[in-house]
Amino acid sequence: MHVRSTTLHGRHLTAGARMVDFAGWEMPVQYCGTLAEHRAVRSAAGLFDVSHMGELAIRGPGAAAAVDRLCANDPRHLSAGEALYTPLCTTQGGTVDDALVYCRTPGQDYLFVVNAANTATDADWMRQECLGGAVVVDESEETALLALQGPRARVILRRLLSLRERAAITALRPFTFAVGVPVAGVPCVVARTGYTGEDGVELACSAAAAPLLWDALLEAGAADGLMPCGLGARDTLRLEAALPLYGHELSRTISPLEARLARFVRIEGRDFCGRAALAEMLAAGPPRELVGLLPEPPAIARADAEVVAQDGETIGRVTSGTYAPSLCRGVALALCRTGAARPAEAGGGALSIEVRGRRVPAAVVPLPFYRRRRGA
């Protein structure tokens, strides 16, 4: 496959990034180191290039009906400037992808930000599922996306805004966005969204202007401890916050109802792709559930490790596992037979995870592993 790179590729190399192939894109996995970058986001701020993600617009007079048909979450109440997290489902109730839907013009124009690896298949799937009167337009090529995340993120952003814009951005609520905001002179869509478990914003701008915006943000945040962050930290941050990653916690054979996303599946009074299968699963109860596990240190369970009950029965598999820098230990998400993995307080039996030929005791814990202190 042809490996693509973002317009920030040169910036990444200059900053000393180690580059990896991710979903067909050459992306920075780390700059100075995943631990330091992770800690910067938890304590100050981090800047991520996530331009590899896909941007698919649905436009036209039939756009509202089409978006309603595609989303497992209910997009009908969205006003201009509101965003919604939603799973996108197969007719069998599996997951095609998960996306943020940005309502640009109600009834007329919606933007789906989707996983890089799925952009092409999502576009095909949308064109198949869309009713008449709506077109799918792939805006990925001309769009750059930067994530500025951490407790200092909005303070840093404010420095690059005019006085008038500052008030609007300060008032920006979670899961809302403002369009045409000049940030250091670069017109941006500023959304109060993210994938780290911290406060922060995501900035979309033209791919050509991304290097200018990148430099301005890093300079504005240098004194706050802002660091460029790679995909390594993005993964440890999202995993501590128990946010799902497509291909791990979600797939065509994993339903959002199994992945702790039931509150993003709205079956009442509407029809959408996968509704019948999901309604059936809701009634019967999902066969598997995603649980949080803490393997006994120093073991670190990785994806695909088997989860084993006391009697030796395999009850599930780790979907994602890593060293969690905020907890200074290994953490894992695992998809297990429903009811088979319960916390000890709830009467659950002892569990272990098979880590490279060894059975390591693991505790079932409530999710997320990390929750930020509000108002800090």
Partner: protein, 126 residues
């Protein structure tokens, strides 16, 4: 990549990115290896007295993102384990050839198939 990796001349190397110091039998992983692994968070090493076989795994090194086996560069017996690494595995990232040494081995012999610094550099830069 604009990092300059080190290849000390006094060491011998394996193709699996371990180094061996003939003077005192110290063994560790190379600058290239620590760079590729990223932040190291745990190192599993054998106890003194353990018998090593060249080319066989003698432990593992775990970074935030992955785990890798360590392969013995020589036949021999473990004489000493670096006591600092249990509390400070990041020494392997910071000083892979000095304070980040892992074990000292009483080698039966020094095999002729270990790579020189120049040969190892060619392997890494290929």
């Amino acid at each position: 990549m604009n990092v300059s990796l080190q290849f000390p001349e006094n060491l011998r190397f394996t193709a699996e990115h371990e180094w061996f110091r003939p003077e005192d039998g110290a063994v560790g992983i190379t600058d290239h290896a620590q760079h590729a692994l990223g932040d190291i968070v745990y190192i599993e090493l054998p106890a003194p007295g353990a018998r090593l076989t060249a080319g066989r795994s003698f432990g593992s090194v775990e970074s935030v993102k992955s785990v890798s086996e360590l392969y013995a560069p020589v036949d021999g017996v473990v004489a000493e384990v670096n006591p600092e690494l249990a509390a400070a595995p990041e020494l392997v990232n910071r000083e892979p050839y000095t304070r980040g040494w892992m074990i000292r081995v009483r080698a039966d012999a020094i095999p002729g198939n270990l790579l020189t610094a120049a040969e190892y550099r060619r392997l890494v830069e290929a």
